[in-house]
């Protein structure tokens, strides 16, 4: 039996301990904000924050998360008003929106670590998150906005 916390809530799993955390979160727990894009840590759609670090839930097993505190997009802020989320809305970032939970979680993790990232640092930190719709210019601007207020 694996025990972990997701968005502050205790969760147990007695199935395959190698099950990727992504599918545990989505299919077993039913939190669908975290998305599947590649399954190979290549796209960032599944990004969640585990103990203050952005991780790819598709290659993190449930047992890797044992005893850890996992935050998904649903748990980032109680009313959805994390500075990154607010900035995202101000810039009207998304197109289809599918990649955006991963982008937002990655950006939130970046700002925890580096509250005032440069443009290059933003680009580097988010380079693991693909947006096939191509919202990159706005993503960059929104992260900048979230970190500086302008």
């Amino acid at each position: 039996m694996v025990k972990l916390k997701i968005n502050g809530q205790e969760r147990n799993w007695d199935g395959d301990p190698d099950l990727p955390l992504l599918w545990f979160i989505r299919d077993e727990v039913g939190l669908t904000g975290t998305k599947f894009g590649c399954g190979q840590a290549l796209c960032g759609s599944c990004t969640v924050i585990m103990d203050k670090q952005a991780v790819r839930a598709c290659i993190t097993s449930v047992s890797d998360a044992a005893g850890r505190e996992v935050t998904t997009i649903e748990g980032l802020h109680p009313t959805g008003d994390h500075p990154v989320q607010k900035a995202w809305r101000q810039v009207n970032v998304p197109q289809c929106g599918y990649c955006q939970a991963g982008q937002i979680m990655q950006a939130a993790a970046l700002l925890m670590d580096n509250p005032k990232p440069s443009h290059d640092q933003i680009r580097e930190s988010l380079s693991g998150n693909i947006c096939r719709c191509g919202c990159y210019q706005r993503i960059e601007n929104a992260v900048h906005l979230a970190s500086t207020g302008v």
Binding site: D27, F36, G39, L42, C96, R132, C133, Q137
Partner: protein
């Protein structure tokens, strides 16, 4: 496609009234009227408007009925139906916004309801071809104006004053003479009892009074949900008792299952069953490819189980498909005469007598859509009824295909449209939904079919692969007197009809036979090419290879004759005029009447001039940098792009700046136009830099974003500027936005690389070609 089931195509545009049974599932209370028999006048074109569109010729045409699209609750909340699919273009914001504008509704009190697939009720729902705004601007205005008129009539009646004395203003109807006011909610029940006004008599708002249209100040309706994880895509549908399926499909298109051993798969924790999925023979249209499904309690277990399957396939007729050999075949075909699809003057003779002939042969490989959300669908089949939840661009077509596949009446099929995590044409084909339906029928429980990224890349309906060969003959003054363009590529039609070797009119009309250049001797040819995999629509379709070839050629001629590429481009476009396509037998024009949407070279010139001006064409750039320009008309819009590149001495390519000018006629939501063009630059750069799917022994050699890379943020352009050319008149018809940004990007980039390095790239993708 369901063209043949289109009654309006046969009947033309005449107005007719018919009675239709509004289904009990009806998502609308229709201005307070629920169920029963409702009069609907399904197809109404606009006699009082300056232009006509091809909307009426689409399957099931257009429905202009406020009771289908608008409902108003007693508390004043206005619900507007979005009947097109949202895949990132902003359509489910923009179309309802048009209704709200004419209705005089306060946008903050508007809610959106996504329509299920029902084209008899809603009119055509195929969200492709960059058609939504172009076909629905006027119908949506008429729907809003009808509902507004009904509210005004209800208020006038209540007050006992003539309707001409009252006016709807911002969610209420006012009688200014007496100062009386009634909110929309207070009037809803009475308004529902009014008859629907005739389209001809409707008074539309004066555009100068628009509160929302043309302003771009409204965020997309899904913005909050997307940023909080609450937005629902296909994969986010969860039903009680639902099983998760992942399918192993034949690795070669047209291959078949011979046998399988599911013993190892069954040992995976969480796997419950291994079973065959029915496949259709090649060419399989939108039907499933067949294979072996692993059914499990969650997706992770199903994927693991699928990887543990042992399957023997019969590879079938396409087992020898090899991209290297196929390219050579296409090149050989392009060097010989082919079917002539446009001919003016005598290009053959003019090329012979020309002072100089410049030849460019351009290759563009297959590429995969790779929408961020891989195909996925949920189905629940019970007896002779089926319900589907899926991210489909074609809800109506999906409904038809589900009914056909199960052999049940269409009325028994409900297709619920979720948000689409990108579409780009892939999700116009509903094979993934049909797989879910087949499995659910057999298992008797709801089933979700999830494609992995590898499934998506290996079993896509790929963008075609093409060789475009252009020969330009110049006289001794450097004037182009002859142009022969041969385009060889397997056709999308091959996915529907065996033996197809020529491209369809709709493909030839995308940048080949519609060439706008003013050249006396012009010939376009289409030599034969057979398909060996599923070919499909990819955002902007054949325009990509055509714009790449034609716009590269322009710069090649400019270089050979020592002229500025922009001046060369304008010279070739020639005088401002309407291009005469009378020499073309089947001049496809994106389904639009040529009178409303001609090829207008004045508009083409204008976007070139605007982008040259705003984008600083001719500005001096640092060493290693270069500027490239390209223009292309597609989806009846005009778009020109300038790309600035920097190539360092190791061949590393960066793009500091992109400038794009678009003339898409009358527009609704400039902010979303901008986002579409920003995105098109990224997609254009992705395909130019990396876009290539190759085959060996009939199998796709790529599988995921490691070997099929797409552009990432750290390589994305420094800045993309978008200039929207205002419509010439308020009656300029709206034209496409979703797709037309893509075609000019790659040639502008390639021309910029030439300007920076002197290297002319004629085969995509760029890959390692700059690392010399």
């Amino acid at each position: 496609m369901n063209i043949l089931t289109n009654p309006n195509k046969l009947r033309g545009f005449e107005k007719h009234i018919k009675v239709e049974n509004v289904s009990r599932r009806s998502i609308l209370k229709s201005l307070g009227l629920a169920g029963g028999f409702v009069l609907a006048a399904p197809v109404m074109m606009r006699p009082s408007f300056a232009y006509e569109t091809g909307a009426g010729k689409m399957p099931h045409g257009v429905v202009v009925d406020p009771r289908v699209f608008v409902s108003i609750a007693p508390d004043g909340i206005v619900t507007i139906v979005a009947h097109r699919s949202e895949m990132g273009t902003g359509v489910r914001t923009s179309l309802p916004l048009i209704v709200a504008e004419e209705l005089e509704a306060d946008w903050s009190r508007v809610r959106i309801q996504q329509a299920h697939g029902d084209e008899v009720k809603f009119g055509n729902q195929d969200t492709d071809g960059s058609r939504s705004t172009r076909h629905y601007l006027i119908p949506m205005r008429q729907i809003g104006a009808s509902a507004r008129t009904m509210l005004e009539q209800a208020a006038a009646k209540r007050w006992g004053v003539p309707a001409s004395e009252v006016k709807a203003v911002h969610h209420e109807v006012v009688h200014s003479a007496s100062g009386r006011k009634l909110g929309f909610g207070e009037l809803a029940a009475d308004a529902a009892k009014q008859s629907v006004p005739s389209i001809e008599g409707l008074k539309l708002k004066n555009p100068k009074d628009f509160r929302y249209l043309g302003k771009g100040e409204i965020g997309i309706v899904d913005l909050h949900d997307i940023t909080t994880g609450a937005a629902h895509y296909g994969a986010d549908v969860r039903l009680p008792g639902m099983k998760y399926a992942v399918i192993a499909r034949p690795p070669v298109t047209g291959g078949k299952l011979v046998s399988f051993d599911g013993a190892e798969a069954m040992k995976v924790s969480g796997v419950e069953k291994v079973m065959e999925v029915k496949g259709w023979p090649w060419p399989s249209k939108f039907q499933p490819l067949g294979g072996v499904a692993v059914i499990a309690r969650n997706t992770g277990a199903a994927i693991k189980g699928c990887n543990a399957l042992k399957v023997t396939w019969d590879d079938g007729a396409n087992a020898k498909y090899d991209s290297v050999a196929y390219r050579a075949e296409l090149e050989a075909a392009a060097r010989k005469p082919g079917l002539v699809v446009r001919k003016e003057g005598d290009a053959e003779a003019a090329l012979k007598s020309a002072d100089k002939v410049i030849v460019g042969e351009y290759y563009l490989p297959h590429f995969a859509h790779a929408s961020m959300e891989p195909p996925v669908a949920v189905a629940n089949v019970k007896g002779d009824k089926a319900e589907v939840w899926a991210p489909v661009q074609s809800p109506g077509g999906t409904r038809e295909d589900v009914a056909k596949t199960l052999g049940i009446p269409e009325e028994n099929v409900t297709v619920n449209v979720t948000l689409l995590g990108g579409g780009f044409g892939r999700k116009s084909k509903c094979d993934f939904a049909l797989e879910a339906v087949l499995l659910s029928k057999e298992l008797g429980v709801p089933v979700k079919v999830q494609w992995t990224r590898e499934d998506d890349v290996r079993h896509d309906f790929l963008h075609t692969v093409s060789v475009e060969r252009i020969e330009a003959g110049l006289d001794k003054n450097g004037k182009v007197i002859a142009w022969r363009h041969r385009s060889v590529a397997p056709s999308i039609a091959s996915t529907f009809a065996a033996g197809t070797v020529h491209q369809a009119p709709f493909e030839l009309g995308m940048g080949l036979i519609d060439n706008p250049f003013e050249i006396a001797n012009m010939q376009c040819e289409n030599p034969e090419a057979a398909a060996h995999t599923r070919i499909g629509w990819f955002r902007s379709v054949s325009n990509i290879p055509r714009a790449f070839a034609v716009q590269s050629m322009v710069a090649e001629i400019a270089h050979a004759t020592n002229r500025d590429p922009k001046d060369m481009l304008l010279e070739l476009i020639g005088s401002p005029r309407i291009v005469n396509l009378s020499s073309v037998k089947d001049p496809w024009n994106y389904g639009e009447p040529y009178d409303s949407y001609p090829i207008d070279t004045a508009r083409l010139r204008k976007v070139v001039e605007v982008v040259a001006d705003k984008g600083g064409w001719g500005r001096s750039v640092p060493k290693g940098h270069g500027l490239g320009i390209a223009v292309h008309r597609s989806f009846v819009s005009y778009i020109a792009t300038i790309v600035e590149v920097a190539v360092d001495d190791k061949g590393k390519l960066t793009v500091p700046r992109v400038d794009t000018a678009i003339d898409c006629g009358t527009y609704v939501n400039p902010e979303r136009i901008q986002s579409q063009i920003e995105g098109a630059a990224i997609m254009g750069m992705s395909l130019a830099k990396y876009g290539e799917i190759t085959f060996k022994d009939g199998k796709v050699q790529q599988g995921n974003f490691d070997d099929y890379p797409v552009l990432r943020i750290d390589e994305s352009p420094g800045i993309t500027n978008v200039y929207i050319v205002p419509p010439a008149t308020p009656d300029t018809p709206p034209s496409g936005v979703g797709e037309p940004g893509v075609p000019p990007f790659a040639p502008a980039l390639i021309n910029a690389i030439f300007a920076a390095t002197g290297k002319r790239i004629r085969a995509m993708p760029i890959g390692k070609q700059l690392e010399a």
